[in-house]
Amino acid sequence: TAGITQAPTSQILAAGRSMTLRCTQDMRHNAMYWYRQDLGLGLRLIHYSNTAGTTGKGEVPDGYSVSRANTDDFPLTLASAVPSQTSVYFCASRLAGSDTQYFGPGTRLTVL
Protein backbone atom coordinates (compact mmCIF):
# COMPACT_ATOMS: atom_id res chain seq x y z
CA THR A 1 0.00 0.00 0.00
CA ALA A 2 1.17 3.54 -0.71
CA GLY A 3 0.17 4.99 2.67
CA ILE A 4 0.93 8.69 2.57
CA THR A 5 2.56 10.39 -0.38
CA GLN A 6 3.92 13.91 -0.47
CA ALA A 7 4.96 16.03 -3.39
CA PRO A 8 7.31 17.47 -4.29
CA THR A 9 10.20 15.72 -2.54
CA SER A 10 12.12 18.96 -2.46
CA GLN A 11 11.76 22.47 -3.79
CA ILE A 12 13.68 25.71 -3.93
CA LEU A 13 11.36 28.70 -3.93
CA ALA A 14 11.96 32.42 -4.34
CA ALA A 15 10.71 34.58 -1.50
CA GLY A 16 7.33 36.10 -2.26
CA ARG A 17 6.24 33.23 -4.48
CA SER A 18 3.36 30.93 -3.63
CA MET A 19 3.61 27.18 -3.28
CA THR A 20 1.31 24.27 -2.53
CA LEU A 21 2.66 21.16 -0.87
CA ARG A 22 0.59 18.11 -1.69
CA CYS A 23 -0.36 15.28 0.65
CA THR A 24 -2.45 12.27 -0.28
CA GLN A 25 -3.30 9.21 1.79
CA ASP A 26 -5.00 6.04 0.66
CA MET A 27 -5.82 4.62 4.09
CA ARG A 28 -9.18 6.41 4.44
CA HIS A 29 -7.93 8.03 7.61
CA ASN A 30 -10.21 10.69 9.04
CA ALA A 31 -7.67 13.06 10.56
CA MET A 32 -4.72 14.66 8.79
CA TYR A 33 -1.92 16.92 9.98
CA TRP A 34 0.85 19.15 8.71
CA TYR A 35 4.08 19.55 10.71
CA ARG A 36 7.29 21.41 10.08
CA GLN A 37 10.60 20.06 11.32
CA ASP A 38 13.41 22.42 12.19
CA LEU A 39 16.78 21.61 13.72
CA GLY A 40 16.67 21.93 17.47
CA LEU A 41 12.93 22.50 17.51
CA GLY A 42 11.57 19.07 16.68
CA LEU A 43 8.24 18.88 14.87
CA ARG A 44 5.62 21.57 15.29
CA LEU A 45 2.01 21.33 14.20
CA ILE A 46 0.95 23.83 11.53
CA HIS A 47 -2.65 22.86 10.75
CA TYR A 48 -4.83 19.83 11.18
CA SER A 49 -8.14 18.42 9.99
CA ASN A 50 -10.40 16.13 12.00
CA THR A 51 -12.44 15.13 8.96
CA ALA A 52 -13.16 16.24 5.42
CA GLY A 53 -14.57 19.76 5.36
CA THR A 54 -13.03 20.88 8.65
CA THR A 55 -9.63 22.35 9.51
CA GLY A 56 -7.95 23.79 12.59
CA LYS A 57 -4.88 25.79 13.53
CA GLY A 58 -1.91 24.23 15.21
CA GLU A 59 1.04 25.73 17.02
CA VAL A 60 2.57 27.66 14.08
CA PRO A 61 -0.19 28.43 11.54
CA ASP A 62 0.87 31.92 10.40
CA GLY A 63 1.75 32.14 6.72
CA TYR A 64 0.10 28.82 5.88
CA SER A 65 -3.37 27.74 4.80
CA VAL A 66 -4.97 24.34 4.27
CA SER A 67 -8.11 22.86 2.80
CA ARG A 68 -9.75 19.46 3.11
CA ALA A 69 -12.15 19.01 0.23
CA ASN A 70 -12.11 15.21 0.52
CA THR A 71 -10.82 12.45 2.78
CA ASP A 72 -7.66 11.66 0.85
CA ASP A 73 -6.05 15.05 0.18
CA PHE A 74 -4.75 17.74 2.51
CA PRO A 75 -2.75 20.39 0.63
CA LEU A 76 -0.70 23.03 2.44
CA THR A 77 -0.35 26.43 0.76
CA LEU A 78 2.21 29.14 1.34
CA ALA A 79 0.68 32.27 -0.19
CA SER A 80 3.84 34.37 -0.10
CA ALA A 81 6.87 32.42 1.04
CA VAL A 82 9.49 33.88 3.38
CA PRO A 83 12.96 32.51 4.22
CA SER A 84 11.81 31.51 7.73
CA GLN A 85 9.54 28.95 6.10
CA THR A 86 12.59 27.00 4.97
CA SER A 87 11.99 23.65 6.63
CA VAL A 88 11.10 20.02 6.14
CA TYR A 89 7.35 19.54 6.02
CA PHE A 90 5.66 16.32 7.07
CA CYS A 91 2.09 15.28 6.48
CA ALA A 92 0.50 12.71 8.80
CA SER A 93 -2.83 10.94 9.12
CA ARG A 94 -4.76 9.05 11.76
CA LEU A 95 -7.76 6.77 11.72
CA ALA A 96 -10.63 7.82 14.00
CA GLY A 97 -10.49 5.84 17.23
CA SER A 98 -6.76 5.22 16.89
CA ASP A 99 -4.07 7.27 18.59
CA THR A 100 -1.30 6.52 16.13
CA GLN A 101 -0.33 9.00 13.44
CA TYR A 102 1.33 7.78 10.25
CA PHE A 103 3.80 10.07 8.55
CA GLY A 104 4.65 10.75 4.94
CA PRO A 105 8.24 10.95 3.65
CA GLY A 106 8.40 14.74 3.85
CA THR A 107 9.02 17.72 1.57
CA ARG A 108 12.21 19.71 1.93
CA LEU A 109 11.48 23.36 1.13
CA THR A 110 14.11 26.07 0.78
CA VAL A 111 12.96 29.67 0.46
CA LEU A 112 15.60 32.07 -0.83
Binding site: G42, L43, L45, D99, Q101, Y102, F103, P105, G106
Partner: protein, 116 residues
Protein backbone atom coordinates in the same frame (compact mmCIF):
# COMPACT_ATOMS: atom_id res chain seq x y z
CA UNK B 1 -1.04 22.60 27.03
CA UNK B 2 1.64 19.96 26.94
CA UNK B 3 5.41 20.15 26.63
CA UNK B 4 8.08 17.52 26.10
CA UNK B 5 11.74 17.73 27.07
CA UNK B 6 14.37 15.47 25.61
CA UNK B 7 17.40 16.21 27.70
CA UNK B 8 20.03 14.88 25.33
CA UNK B 9 20.34 16.25 21.83
CA UNK B 10 22.96 13.63 20.93
CA UNK B 11 23.85 10.26 22.39
CA UNK B 12 26.95 8.48 21.07
CA UNK B 13 27.20 4.78 21.90
CA UNK B 14 29.24 1.78 20.81
CA UNK B 15 27.56 -1.13 19.08
CA UNK B 16 26.19 -3.79 21.45
CA UNK B 17 26.17 -1.35 24.36
CA UNK B 18 22.95 -0.46 26.18
CA UNK B 19 21.32 2.90 25.67
CA UNK B 20 18.72 5.07 27.36
CA UNK B 21 17.15 8.10 25.73
CA UNK B 22 15.45 10.37 28.22
CA UNK B 23 12.07 12.01 27.89
CA UNK B 24 10.15 14.10 30.40
CA UNK B 25 6.80 15.73 29.83
CA UNK B 26 4.53 18.30 31.39
CA UNK B 27 0.75 18.32 31.11
CA UNK B 28 -2.27 19.47 33.10
CA UNK B 29 -4.30 16.54 31.75
CA UNK B 30 -3.64 12.85 31.26
CA UNK B 31 -1.67 12.01 28.14
CA UNK B 32 -0.75 9.25 25.80
CA UNK B 33 2.98 8.86 25.19
CA UNK B 34 4.86 7.93 22.04
CA UNK B 35 8.34 7.36 20.71
CA UNK B 36 8.97 7.84 17.01
CA UNK B 37 12.15 7.09 15.05
CA UNK B 38 13.36 8.95 11.98
CA UNK B 39 16.02 7.31 9.84
CA UNK B 40 18.09 9.59 7.59
CA UNK B 41 16.03 11.25 4.87
CA UNK B 42 12.87 9.45 5.86
CA UNK B 43 9.61 10.21 7.63
CA UNK B 44 8.77 9.28 11.19
CA UNK B 45 7.93 5.73 12.18
CA UNK B 46 6.20 4.71 15.41
CA UNK B 47 8.48 2.76 17.77
CA UNK B 48 6.09 2.26 20.65
CA UNK B 49 3.31 3.92 22.60
CA UNK B 50 1.82 3.97 26.07
CA UNK B 51 -1.93 4.38 26.33
CA UNK B 52 -2.79 2.60 29.59
CA UNK B 53 -2.08 -0.58 31.55
CA UNK B 54 1.41 -1.93 32.13
CA UNK B 55 3.92 0.87 32.47
CA UNK B 56 6.60 -1.10 30.59
CA UNK B 57 5.94 -0.95 26.90
CA UNK B 58 7.76 -2.99 24.28
CA UNK B 59 8.12 -1.75 20.74
CA UNK B 60 9.75 -2.67 17.47
CA UNK B 61 13.44 -3.37 16.95
CA UNK B 62 14.01 -4.44 20.57
CA UNK B 63 13.20 -1.05 22.11
CA UNK B 64 11.18 -0.61 25.27
CA UNK B 65 10.06 2.32 27.38
CA UNK B 66 8.77 2.75 30.89
CA UNK B 67 6.10 5.23 31.90
CA UNK B 68 6.73 6.81 35.29
CA UNK B 69 3.80 8.99 36.27
CA UNK B 70 5.36 10.39 39.44
CA UNK B 71 8.45 11.52 37.57
CA UNK B 72 6.50 12.39 34.40
CA UNK B 73 9.02 10.46 32.36
CA UNK B 74 8.93 8.02 29.48
CA UNK B 75 12.53 6.96 28.89
CA UNK B 76 13.41 4.75 25.93
CA UNK B 77 15.86 1.86 26.36
CA UNK B 78 17.54 -0.86 24.38
CA UNK B 79 19.87 -3.41 26.01
CA UNK B 80 22.15 -3.80 23.00
CA UNK B 81 22.20 -1.38 20.08
CA UNK B 82 23.10 -2.04 16.49
CA UNK B 83 24.63 0.20 13.86
CA UNK B 84 21.26 0.26 12.14
CA UNK B 85 19.72 1.98 15.19
CA UNK B 86 21.52 5.19 14.23
CA UNK B 87 18.67 7.66 13.80
CA UNK B 88 16.80 10.58 15.34
CA UNK B 89 14.37 9.65 18.10
CA UNK B 90 11.40 11.79 19.07
CA UNK B 91 9.29 11.58 22.18
CA UNK B 92 5.74 12.90 21.84
CA UNK B 93 2.58 13.28 23.91
CA UNK B 94 -1.07 13.60 23.08
CA UNK B 95 -3.68 14.85 25.52
CA UNK B 96 -6.43 12.35 26.22
CA UNK B 97 -9.54 14.01 24.83
CA UNK B 98 -12.69 12.78 23.24
CA UNK B 99 -14.10 14.26 20.08
CA UNK B 100 -10.98 16.15 19.09
CA UNK B 101 -7.99 15.45 16.93
CA UNK B 102 -5.15 13.74 18.77
CA UNK B 103 -2.60 16.48 18.25
CA UNK B 104 0.94 15.44 19.06
CA UNK B 105 3.42 17.63 20.90
CA UNK B 106 6.98 16.59 20.12
CA UNK B 107 10.26 16.93 21.91
CA UNK B 108 13.25 18.36 20.09
CA UNK B 109 14.69 14.95 19.33
CA UNK B 110 17.75 12.90 20.31
CA UNK B 111 20.28 11.86 17.74
CA UNK B 112 21.50 8.31 18.51
CA UNK B 113 24.86 7.66 16.88
CA UNK B 114 26.03 4.05 17.07
CA UNK B 115 29.64 3.30 16.20
CA UNK B 116 31.81 0.18 16.06
Amino acid sequence: AQSVTQLDSQVPVFEEAPVELRCNYSSSVSVYLFWYVQYPNQGLQLLLKYLSGSTLVKGINGFEAEFNKSQTSFHLRKPSVHISDTAEYFCAVSAIHTGTASKLTFGTGTRLQVTL
